[in-house]
Symmetry: C2
Subunit: 207 residues, 2 copies
């Protein structure tokens, strides 16, 4: 029997749900099937909750008009927080990176989210990132930013983006800094990759 | 700073989506966050597709009135398929198990889904399973079932459930069989657990 059984020919709601869940990253057909059956066992209220959360998040959430963080208001909570230092601006690749920095509770300034990194081979230049928005913000009257911390990731693309921004921003009179790279806390020299070790040595400090 | 930052106090739509996704099995907070950001990058149409699939699956899908399989009609496709053998009934724990057997294309009879196994300690007795529905079906006029294949899993609960059904069904005059247990195809004696090996030896056949 190589032809499908009759009951498999029609796309039924279960198959459709499995298909929809399978489009999520890291969720293959088996996981999608397990999730679909779990959801069907939970019933309608559970599904309704998740469906509402999906629609609200994609309908009500947009970009903060100032820093490009995600928010359901005009300005995000960080930009609206008067207690944060307006003289230091941390430039990150993604909203996830912004959140990671917030979790560390180490930074009390403002942010700017680029929404990506330069990737010329994929056709992503400065115009595809939120670079123009950054310049508009820095040139606006009342802008108090003195230092820009480039917190793009220490990857090839992140470094290239940081270098591009440094060349763009230094001539405008800003102090431009880069987050440190080196061995992660709790890391072990024995297992660190050569690039990380070389960066840790190059970035050594007096103590 | 041990108190939450002001922008974290309000439950925003993103946090709500992360929370809703985090209720799915095997999806922790990190995965839920990654999924939420992925969904927001995809945008409204993507979320709408998934939301619709969720609602349709939980609203339109119910149990087949005959075999307790999931279906969006009164009877599932297998029960409606006149080419399937009405004299052999395969009893399974879950719809997922039914689907696994269907994928093997080894079985052309009918099914009955118990929706669980006996678990007295968790308060799951025969009344919590679809046992009554099985008896009603077997006693109905026009029922052609001769053999019942007990295809519950070879676990403690599955074996107990099979034993219970065997004692219930044999006196009614049915031929009751149990699926074979032993080493899986491609398995290796060296790595097989003792229970599987002992079952494989006890179930040995002439060749």
């Amino acid at each position: 029997m190589s032809s499908p059984l009759p009951h498999e020919r029609r796309v039924d709601p279960i198959a459709r749900l499995v298909q929809a869940l399978g489009r999520l990253p890291g969720i293959g057909e088996k996981s999608a099937t397990r999730l679909a059956f779990f959801i069907m066992r939970q019933g309608r209220d559970f599904a309704q909750d998740l469906a509402t959360a999906l629609l609200e998040a994609t309908e009500r959430v947009g970009l903060c008009e100032t820093c490009m963080n995600l928010t359901d208001e005009l300005q995000c909570g960080i930009c609206r927080d008067a207690r944060r230092d307006p003289t230091v601006l941390c430039v990150v690749e993604t909203v996830q990176d912004l959140r990671a920095i917030e979790r560390s509770r180490e930074f009390a300034g403002q942010y700017h989210v680029l929404h990506g990194t330069l990737a010329p081979l994929e056709g992503i230049g400065p115009d595809q990132l939120k670079v123009k928005e950054l310049l508009v913000r820095l040139r606006a009257g009342g802008c108090e930013v003195k230092e820009l911390i480039l917190a793009t990731n220490p990857s090839v693309e992140g470094e290239a983006t940081a270098l591009y921004l440094q060349k763009l921003l230094t001539p405008l009179g800003f102090e431009v800094t880069r987050i440190a790279s080196g061995l992660p806390i709790g890391g072990d020299l024995e297992y660190a990759d050569p690039a990380t070790i070389s960066r840790a040595i190059a970035g050594r400090r007096h103590m």
